[in-house]
């Protein structure tokens, strides 16, 4: 994997933009079809740069649990590495959209609040990892790419 590219990708995510609202971007790492890189390898490389936790979104986990884990990771001031392995459910999509648009999740009746909002900590970011074929063929949400700022393509 090109370290320089990954370095730039992390650097751009760390930036807090001065004009764009909201200030932080969500990042996307796309594994291209012919790439031999393993997701674990990518995660370990990123771990060298930042304090990050991995969440796998697949058939064994529910949207509510993923959302709990994301919020929990943010509360620990850490980055989230979200590996997408199934089409994004409505609940999670709502939160990803809200994070991309406002840098904060917004939940109804959550943690004892009628409306729960939590500003994404300055030291936290969210990176989504997915394979190109999966994005193209399994993700039904037509604006998926638009949720993200910097995109790193792994060839």
């Amino acid at each position: 994997m090109e370290k320089q590219k990954l370095n730039t990708f992390i650097h751009l995510l760390q930036k807090s933009f001065t004009q764009k609202q909201p200030a932080f971007d969500l990042g996307l790492i796309v594994k291209e079809s012919k790439s031999q890189i393993e997701v674990k390898e990518v995660f370990e490389e990123i771990k060298e740069f930042v304090d990050i936790e991995r969440i796998v979104y697949d058939e064994t986990i529910f949207d509510e649990d993923v959302i709990d884990k994301i919020i929990d990771t943010f509360q620990k001031n850490k980055w989230v590495f979200l590996e997408i392995k199934k089409d994004i459910g409505s609940l999670l999509l709502n939160q990803l959209k809200h994070l991309a648009t406002h840098n904060s999740p917004q939940l109804i009746d959550y943690q004892g609040k009628d409306i729960f909002e939590m500003k994404m900590p300055e030291n936290s970011r969210l990176i989504v990892f997915a394979e190109r074929d999966f994005i193209e063929n399994k993700i039904t949400y037509p604006h998926f790419y638009r949720l993200f700022g910097p995109t790193l393509s792994l060839k």
Binding site: K20, E64, N94, E136, P142
Partner: protein
């Protein structure tokens, strides 16, 4: 002298209206829009306590209109906040068209649906409108539709209270099955038909039936169920507390702003649920009845307002036309693409760094404080907006190798502008900022690297090079026809001169000017002497003395 019969005295209301209209249409020295949103405080007498108090209002109107329709709304924001929010809105014609529509429909409790392309700013302006109404940092209640949206998320659902992880998993699996969803819907519908029961009895019956259902599915029958409202009833009964938090009252709530995004992606059953929001005379419903809670009614507070947004159906695959029944029940506004003028204006705002805060100190990675040099920003904005426009046109046709269409937004431009502050490349020849190379790299990263179509990428790369270095990109600059690169180099050179260098340069200029003056004086003296020597009336003895 005017005919006394035609003289008409204006009422105080008329004078006030004229004053507000003048402020709405206010422009700066270079013709830039300063109005559009006007803040005013008014003294009002409380009808109950008879006490005088100050109330805050905003007036919103489209400053591009000759005779704008101006809407007055109450606001919780103070003047400072309103000014700050105004500074974050690029005064494009389209922005004010949207804000004006929002203000007008909000005032009359009419739901608004805006169908327009991604870059038009629907979401951003919904946020800004909420801030204008409630104060800086307050966001609307957002709901995003997709093909997977379930009616229960919008309206209401029963959620089991489970203790262990294992139980939770079991429950979720059960609840996500089509069979369970169908059975739960049936229970609620059956109970709703029992007209003789009171609402409390209906709720108790729903609860018992849900427990029976759980038992039949092999789950604990003792599980308790909790009723949870979805986004619509929540927004109807929300109360924004003075400390910024929210509380909810289904009967006495004041209501809040609900933004339902991408409604074009919603499935018919979701649209059907949304149709419950239609009220009398095109207004929002005053209450809705939910069968999920035994038919109890939720009242819409006076400040409840719904704004729907969606992209045009031709822009994306899987997007439906807006449902005709929904379109009839809302104020439907279709927006076109951002005009080229608006795109230029946005680029100018981003690259001259008019929005947000500028860095107080030169950040690491910054060779030239470009954010303090609007003359450079203006030239960059011309290049980027032209490139953005060209690429957007191409992307609209779709890309080879990608199913999703990814139209550009103004954020892409903002990202380049912000990265330009501290991601700069130094020229090896001059030691100064190499603006052309930096811009190329950033445009590559933020615009071209996303392209799946390699041919398009190559074409756009060649176009960018042509704009920057080629003959077709040449424009007149200070009387000369120059490439953009040459113009950038001149402007960077001028801006790079440090204060110390400027001082030395000024001293040298002064020294040279003095030398020139002295030389001129010498020439003048020589001329005077020559004319004296040529004068026949001056005696030769005097001339001899002068020559010595």
């Amino acid at each position: 002298m005017p005919n006394p019969e035609t003289i008409r005295f204006k009422s105080p209301e008329e004078l006030k209206e004229e004053e507000i209209e003048r402020k709405i249409k206010e422009r700066g020295p270079e013709g830039e829009i300063l109005g559009g949103i006007v803040f005013e405080e008014e003294k009002v007498v409380d009808p109950e306590t008879k006490e005088e108090k100050i109330k805050r209002y905003i007036y919103i109107g489209n400053p591009y209109e000759e005779r704008p329709i101006i809407t007055k709304l109450e606001t919780d924001a103070n003047q400072e906040e309103i000014e700050a929010i105004k500074r974050e809105i690029i005064p494009m014609k389209e922005s004010f068209e949207i804000l004006e529509a929002m203000a007008r429909t909000y005032k009359h409790r009419q739901p608004l649906l805006i169908e327009g392309p991604t870059a038009i700013g629907k979401t951003y302006l919904a946020d800004k409108f909420t801030e204008l109404r409630y104060g800086k940092g307050v966001k609307p209640l957002d709901f995003y539709c997709s093909g997977q949206t379930d009616v229960s998320e919008l309206m209401a659902k029963w959620v089991p209270k489970v203790e262990t992880e294992e139980e939770k998993k079991k429950w979720n699996e059960f609840l996500e099955s089509a069979e369970a969803q169908e059975k739960i819907s049936k229970i609620a519908e059956e109970v709703e038909q029992k007209e003789k029961l009171s609402q409390e009895q209906k709720l108790a019956l729903i609860h018992t039936k849900l427990q029976e259902l759980a038992k039949s599915a092999g789950l604990s029958e003792k599980t308790q169920w909790r009723f949870q409202y979805g986004a619509v009833p929540k927004a109807m009964g929300l109360i924004k507390n003075p400390d910024g938090s929210f509380s909810f009252d289904e009967q006495k709530g004041t209501g809040f702003i609900l933004h339902i995004e991408e409604v074009g992606l919603a499935e018919p059953q979701v649209i059907n649920a949304l149709l419950k929001l239609r009220g009398k005379r095109g207004q929002l419903a005053e209450e809705i009845q939910l069968w999920e809670n035994g038919g109890r009614k939720v009242k819409a507070g006076p400040k409840f307002w719904v704004f729907f947004s969606t992209n045009p159906p031709e822009e994306y695959l899987a997007r439906n036309e807006v449902d005709p029944a929904l379109a009839r029940g809302v104020v439907f506004k279709r927006m076109k693409e951002l005009s080229v003028e608006s795109l230029h204006l946005a680029a100018d705002y981003y690259f001259t760094y008019k929005l947000g805060e500028k860095p107080k100190e030169k950040p690491e990675g910054c060779i030239l404080d470009i954010y303090n040099h609007p003359e450079i920003g203006r030239e960059i904005s011309k290049v980027v907006s032209a490139f953005h426009n060209d690429l957007n046109k191409e992307l609209k046709k779709g890309e080879e190798g990608r199913q999703q269409r990814i139209p550009l937004t103004l954020d892409d431009m903002a990202r380049v502008a912000d990265a330009l502050i501290d991601t700069q490349i130094r020229s090896k020849e001059t030691g100064r900022l190499d603006l052309t190379e930096t811009l190329k790299k950033l445009i590559h990263f933020y615009y071209l690297d996303r392209l799946a179509d390699e041919d398009l990428k190559e074409t756009m790369e060649a176009n960018l090079n042509e704009i920057l270095n080629g003959d077709t990109g040449k424009i007149e600059f200070e009387g000369k026809l120059l490439t953009r690169k040459e113009i950038f180099d001149i402007l960077v050179e001028r801006a790079s001169i440090t204060e110390e260098e400027e001082k030395v340069r000024c001293e040298e200029e002064k020294k040279k000017a003095k030398e020139r003056e002295l030389k001129q004086a010498q020439f003048n003296a020589q001329d005077a002497l020559n004319s004296l020597l040529k004068n026949p009336e001056i005696p030769e003895s005097v001339k001899k003395l002068l020559q010595e």
